[in-house]
């Protein structure tokens, strides 16, 4: 006995869905009403509740980018340090 055909379909109002969940024929409705119905508390949620976790990836990307930038900065000088003129 499988219950796959009994999965309930949850209906969410069009305006509250994200753009990826909106169907094509509902796009006009979404654009029209979504522009006026702004959630005024979004900044609070974004600042205090939806906080990203810091990790080692962020700072290592920053430092790698800094090393790459310094390499680019120094390249005209590093060009002279080749062992062979033509590779």
């Amino acid at each position: 006995m499988t219950y796959k055909f009994l999965i309930p379909i949850i209906v969410v109002p069009v305006v509250q869905r994200k753009l990826g969940d909106v169907r094509l024929n509902e796009l006009c409705v979404w654009l029209g009403q979504g522009l006026f119905l702004k959630n005024h508390n979004t900044w609070y949620y974004r600042k205090y509740i939806d906080v990203r976790r810091g990790g080692i990836g962020r700072i290592s990307m920053l430092l790698t980018g800094y090393c790459v930038l310094c390499y680019i900065w120094n390249y005209p000088h590093l060009k002279k340090e080749r062992w062979r003129k033509y590779h």
Binding site: G54, L62, L63, C67, C70, Y71, N74, P76, H77, W83
Partner: protein, 227 residues
């Protein structure tokens, strides 16, 4: 081949923009500012704890007049440590290898301690030029020697930081070149040299931190005498 081993210390400039500007501004990016919250996240708590401990230690020998310098000395320490450590990354430029920058730190701060001493307590400040208990015949010579040592302090502060960092970077570059050259010819010797390079890099990390600390500590000592 290498044009000259000292070329790594030339201040690089690309399209008219010097790299030293970015290298000096980078430490500001790396330390998050504590937000206006009652309890912060772990990173900011740890950062604040370290800075508080360090400033506490630094301010122990100073009297209350010297506590005005807490912000300056703590931020100088963080700045120097970050710059020195960032300079150990490949291809990066270390601003503290430039004598101009180190003298720019040392001379004004030393002069500030001297002027504070001369203005607030001129007798005591001048009295430091003669240590207690010197035999009477030695007094004239010793005053001259102490005056010279007073005026050499900023030079010593600046040159100490410059020389230590420059020597460290130069050694790393020399030994790395040696490893690179030896690798096709004598791989065993190259591996031993690579081990030496690894140990040297660890030493450089320590030196980077210690030199910054010594700079700030000596400044606080000069302040202690004068404030």
């Amino acid at each position: 081949m290498m044009v000259s081993f000292f070329d790594q210390f030339a201040s690089p400039s690309y399209l008219g923009i010097p790299l030293i500007a970015i290298a000096i501004a980078l430490p500001w990016v790396l330390y998050p500012t504590p937000p206006a919250r009652w309890i912060n996240n772990r990173l900011i708590t740890i950062q604040g704890w370290f800075i508080n401990r360090f400033t506490n230690q630094l301010m122990l020998p100073l009297n209350v007049g010297g506590h005005k310098w807490a912000l300056l000395l703590a931020s100088l320490m963080i700045f120097l440590i970050t710059i020195n450590m960032l300079g150990l990354l490949p291809y990066t430029f270390t601003p503290t290898t430039q004598l101009s920058l180190n003298m720019g730190f040392a001379v004004p701060l030393w002069l500030a301690t001297v002027i504070i001493g001369m203005r607030n307590q001129p007798t005591v400040a001048l009295g430091h030029l003669l240590p207690e208990g010197t035999p009477i015949p030695l007094i004239p010579v010793l005053i001259i020697i102490e005056t010279i040592s007073l005026f050499i302090r900023p030079l010593a502060l600046g040159v100490r930081l410059t020389a230590n960092l420059t020597a460290g970077h130069l050694l790393i570059q020399l030994i790395a070149t040696a490893v690179f050259v030896l690798l096709p010819m004598m791989p065993t010797v190259a591996i031993l040299t690579a081990a030496v390079l690894f140990l040297l890099t660890l030493l450089e990390v320590a030196v980077a931190m210690i030199q910054a600390y010594v700079f700030v500590l000596l400044l606080s000592l000069y302040l202690q005498e004068n404030v």
